[in-house]
């Protein structure tokens, strides 16, 4: 029984335009909202792309691969900035976030980062056999644990949580930039970043903790966008944010394990 009596009396329209596929297609495209399953699928696709290019750069040992990896990392950086934007203290947004670009930029980001991760992982594995499996496993263990804590409501991110994690993340980012500039001029890195003493390991543990807590923010973005019926492309945006944090977490865990094993 329809909710409109007119439809019950006269039946549905026989007008071919109204009954055509075009009409229903337009309606369905306007109704396209993001789903949790969609975000899961996109996360899987992006991780697959990352592993794919990582495997390529791991297995092909040539100087050309170094150049390709560098270009891949640059493409990933540009994709990340274009999608997530660039925020600067006191000034605000220099480049505004453009989440609608995510369906195009997310695969570029994943492919580009994969090249860089592959080379990094291969070098770590040559120095410390078995370290990559350990780092990947610990990354997913941390991610799954935090996801459970988030879904069950044990960790409840609020505005203060966001402020603390965001400030710490920006602080780490600026330290890495300063280290990059310092090493370009002196050829050496900040000792507290590479030191395998108690202080260096403490710094690494802190960075791993901040990277892990960034995952909670990503889970919250995906969950809330789903609740609010965000457009379909937010699936790509959420998946890209999640994969970016997972990659960062993996790199930091790898660095921490290298410090521990070199003691």
């Amino acid at each position: 029984m329809s909710k409109h009596s007119a439809l019950d009396t006269f039946g549905r329209s026989g007008n071919p335009l109204i009954r055509s596929d075009i009409f229903s297609r337009q309606t369905s495209s306007l109704h396209e909202r993001m789903t949790l399953q969609g975000a899961v699928d996109k996360t899987g696709i992006l991780l697959f792309l990352t592993v794919l290019t990582a495997a390529v750069s791991w297995n092909i040992d040539s100087p050309m691969m170094g150049l390709i990896s560098g270009l891949g990392a640059l493409a990933a950086f540009i994709s990340g900035i274009a999608t997530f934007g660039f925020w600067f203290f006191f000034i605000g947004w220099i480049i505004k976030p453009r989440p609608h670009l995510a369906p195009k930029t997310a695969p570029i980001y994943a492919l580009g980062m994969g090249f860089g991760i592959g080379i990094m992982s291969e070098q770590a594995e040559m120095m410390f056999p078995g370290i990559v499996i350990q780092a990947v496993s610990l990354t997913f263990f941390v991610a799954a644990s935090l996801l459970f804590a988030y879904k069950s409501g044990v960790i409840k991110p609020n505005q203060n949580f966001l402020l603390i994690i965001f400030s710490a993340t920006v602080g780490i980012f600026l330290t890495y930039i300063a280290n990059l500039i310092f090493s370009a001029f002196t050829g050496a890195s900040f000792s507290f970043l590479t030191d395998n003493g108690a202080f260096g390991i403490g710094i690494s543990l802190f960075v791993v903790a901040i990277a892990a807590l960034n995952l909670v923010l990503d889970f919250d973005i995906i969950e809330q966008a789903h609740e609010q019926g965000a457009p379909k492309y937010i699936e790509w945006f959420g998946a890209m944010a999640l994969v970016a944090t997972l990659i960062w977490l993996y790199i930091e865990i790898l660095r921490l394990l290298m410090k521990l094993r070199s003691r």
């Binding site: 329809s2 909710k3 409109h4 007119a6 439809l7 309606t27 306007l30 109704h31 909202r33 949790l36 399953q37 975000a39 899961v40 996360t43 899987g44 505004k96 976030p97 989440p99 609608h100 078995g130 499996i133 350990q134 990947v136 496993s137 610990l138 990354t139 997913f140 263990f141 991610a143 799954a144 644990s145 996801l147 459970f148 988030y150 879904k151 069950s152 409501g153 409840k156 991110p157 609020n158 505005q159 949580f161 966001l162 923010l217 889970f219 919250d220 973005i221 995906i222 969950e223 809330q224 966008a225 789903h226 609740e227 609010q228 019926g229 965000a230 457009p231 492309y233 937010i234 945006f237």
Partner: protein, 68 residues
């Protein structure tokens, strides 16, 4: 392969499967029914035309809406 690597490998596989399994489910009401949640929509701009379109069609069901 050392015992530690093998153990962590198995832990990693279980964690990987659990991660993708858990992601499909909605968060508990303890998480979602809070007044102090982060308002992500104020930080992440959804494209305006898409939002307008979806809002416009929010109430449309299977049948057309006729105004009385």
């Amino acid at each position: 392969m050392s015992f530690l690597t093998g153990f962590l490998g198995i832990l990693g596989i279980i964690s990987f499967i659990s991660f993708f399994f858990l992601m499909r489910f909605k968060a508990s009401s303890k998480q979602t029914d809070r007044s102090d949640r982060i308002k992500w929509s104020s930080y992440i701009p959804y494209r305006e035309n898409s939002t307008k379109k979806t809002r416009k069609n929010e109430n449309s069901g299977q049948d057309a809406d006729f105004e009385n």
